[in-house]
């Protein structure tokens, strides 16, 4: 299924061929679409396999840490989720830029920005929750006003706001442009969140509990490999989710325009029928 189809230019001379061509693949792009479908399917399988392997390794094969005990197993989930969050927002930023740049403007970048941001919000929420679950037995509290936690929580709400901006009614170009600018502004907070651990320490000079999740503690052997695998697996999952979210966006757009055209035609035929 082509991601760049523009419904309004579909050939309309004969209703029967239009119906026959169907929605899933335009006649000429059938071969390409089939390959793409296979690739996405393979991506999904790889992501699933990677995550399953991470779980098995993380929960059973790897040894408990000498300091953290079994809690270290959360290290195979939480940092990967945070990593994907940053990637997702980075992609949102870049594709919003691509949309605003006149030479590369096109609905696919707007769709990508929206899809990546939505997936990013999911991963941000999960990062916060898994971090909180890690923090409870470690620091004794579900939440602390640590700069990293606070800025990440802000990031969550911020991109929820971005998703709200995407929903403001208007024509497609207006919505896309407005959303793109909102994405650029929202992205300003991403480096703030990322560097917050560094900056707050240098400005405050207060000893902070060294967060082993962020610090470079030396881990080795099976633990290091599992950590690496988790990053790869969740990145693949991110890609798969974004592809499907983009597809959904295309379907929604086509549904809107098809529904509109259908309604227009029905009104027309009513009018003609009434007049004759």
């Amino acid at each position: 299924m082509s991601l760049t189809s523009t419904p309004l230019t579909r050939d309309r001379t004969s209703p029967s061929t239009a119906a026959a061509a169907g929605t899933v693949s335009e006649a000429g792009a059938g071969g390409r679409a089939a390959w793409r479908a296979v690739a996405v399917r393979a991506l999904g399988v790889a992501a699933l396999a990677g995550i399953a392997a991470t779980v098995v390794l993380g929960l059973w094969v790897t040894p408990p840490d000498e300091f953290m005990g079994n809690l270290v197993r959360l290290l195979y989930i939480h940092p990967a989720l945070a990593w994907v969050m940053y990637i997702a927002y980075g992609v949102s930023f870049l594709s919003s830029l691509a949309y605003l740049w006149p030479r590369t403007r096109g609905p696919r970048w707007d769709r990508l920005a929206g899809a990546s941001s939505e997936v990013g919000v999911v991963f941000t929420g999960l990062t916060l929750v898994t971090g909180s679950i890690w923090g409870r037995p470690t620091w004794g509290a579900w939440w602390t006003w640590d700069p990293l936690l606070t800025t990440t929580a802000l990031l969550f709400v911020l991109y929820l706001g971005y998703l709200a901006v995407r929903r403001i009614p208007g024509d497609a170009d207006t919505r896309a442009r407005r959303s793109a600018i909102a994405a650029l502004v929202a992205f300003v907070d991403v480096p703030i969140a990322y560097f917050s651990v560094l900056w707050w320490r240098s400005l405050h000079q207060t000893p902070t509990v060294d967060n082993p999740v962020n610090g470079k503690t030396a881990i080795h052997g099976s633990m290091a490999w599992t950590l690496l695998l988790s990053f790869v697996a969740f990145s693949l999952a991110y890609l798969w989710l974004v592809v499907h979210r983009c597809r959904l966006a295309v379907l929604v757009e086509r549904e809107e325009s098809e529904g509109l055209q259908l309604a227009i035609e029905q009104r027309r035929s009513e009018a003609v029928g009434g007049a004759s």
Binding site: T150, V157, L158, G161, A164, I168, V185, A186, D189
Partner: protein, 225 residues
């Protein structure tokens, strides 16, 4: 651009002089918020109390709330009688419109902050020391907050959920500015100007960044509103 900015700022300020919304509604609102904070966290005052320690933060949260109101008011002016169409077709430079609107809001807010600082120092029993740093950081923080608010204000201008959308968009982005302003004031009030200067730098960066983004983005956003 500057002439257009002055034109728009003058218009907004003249409307305010006549309607007295900032004076009559936003300022009392802000004072009430400070009182509510006192109620919620008091009644103890003096150097050991919560109110004493939190004074700078409470002040800036109040300013943030007042900023939202001021921005909403500023864009409500443009939402009636096709005023926003008039603005778009007037041939004014959109960057100038942005600077003008932001300047008008900022000047009203700065006056409000002077009033609020006096009230807060009385209510929370804090002596206002380090005037230069207090003033400089307040100006930088206000410019940053207002620029940011104006950017989001124009986004929500066409939306029917304007009242709830603007705070949702604005507050998370404003949080770093809020934090820096609070820390700067904390340091200034505690007579540690060295620390405050670091935070002042942060505030200046935000102010410059948001004004720059605003001047560039305001045009397209106004078109789409």
């Amino acid at each position: 651009m500057w002439r257009d900015a002055l034109l728009v700022a003058g218009k907004d300020l003249r409307i305010e002089l006549r309607a007295k919304v900032a004076l009559g509604q936003v300022a009392p609102f802000a004072v009430v918020v400070l009182l509510l904070f006192g109620l919620a966290l008091g009644p103890a005052v003096g150097s050991g109390s919560v109110l004493f320690a939190a004074a700078a933060g409470l002040f800036w949260v109040t300013v943030l709330l007042a900023t939202v109101l001021a921005v909403q008011r500023s864009f409500a002016l443009e939402s009636v009688d096709g005023a926003s169409d008039g603005l778009r077709m007037s041939g004014l430079d959109p960057a100038g419109i942005f600077v003008g609107k932001a300047a008008a809001i900022a000047s009203q807010l700065l006056l409000l902050e002077v009033l609020l600082a006096a009230v807060a120092s009385v209510l929370f029993d804090r002596h206002l020391a380090g005037w230069a740093i207090l003033a400089a950081s307040a100006v930088a923080a206000t410019v940053g907050l207002v620029a940011l608010g104006t950017i989001y204000g124009v986004v929500s201008i066409g939306s029917r959920q304007r009242e709830t959308l603007l705070p949702l968009l604005f507050f998370p982005m404003a949080a770093p500015v809020l934090l820096a302003a609070t820390k700067a004031w904390d340091a200034a009030l505690a007579d540690a100007p060295g620390h405050a200067l670091g935070w002042l730098d942060v505030l200046l960066v935000f102010a410059v960044a948001y004004v720059a983004i605003g001047t560039v983005a305001f045009g397209p956003l106004l078109e789409d509103a």
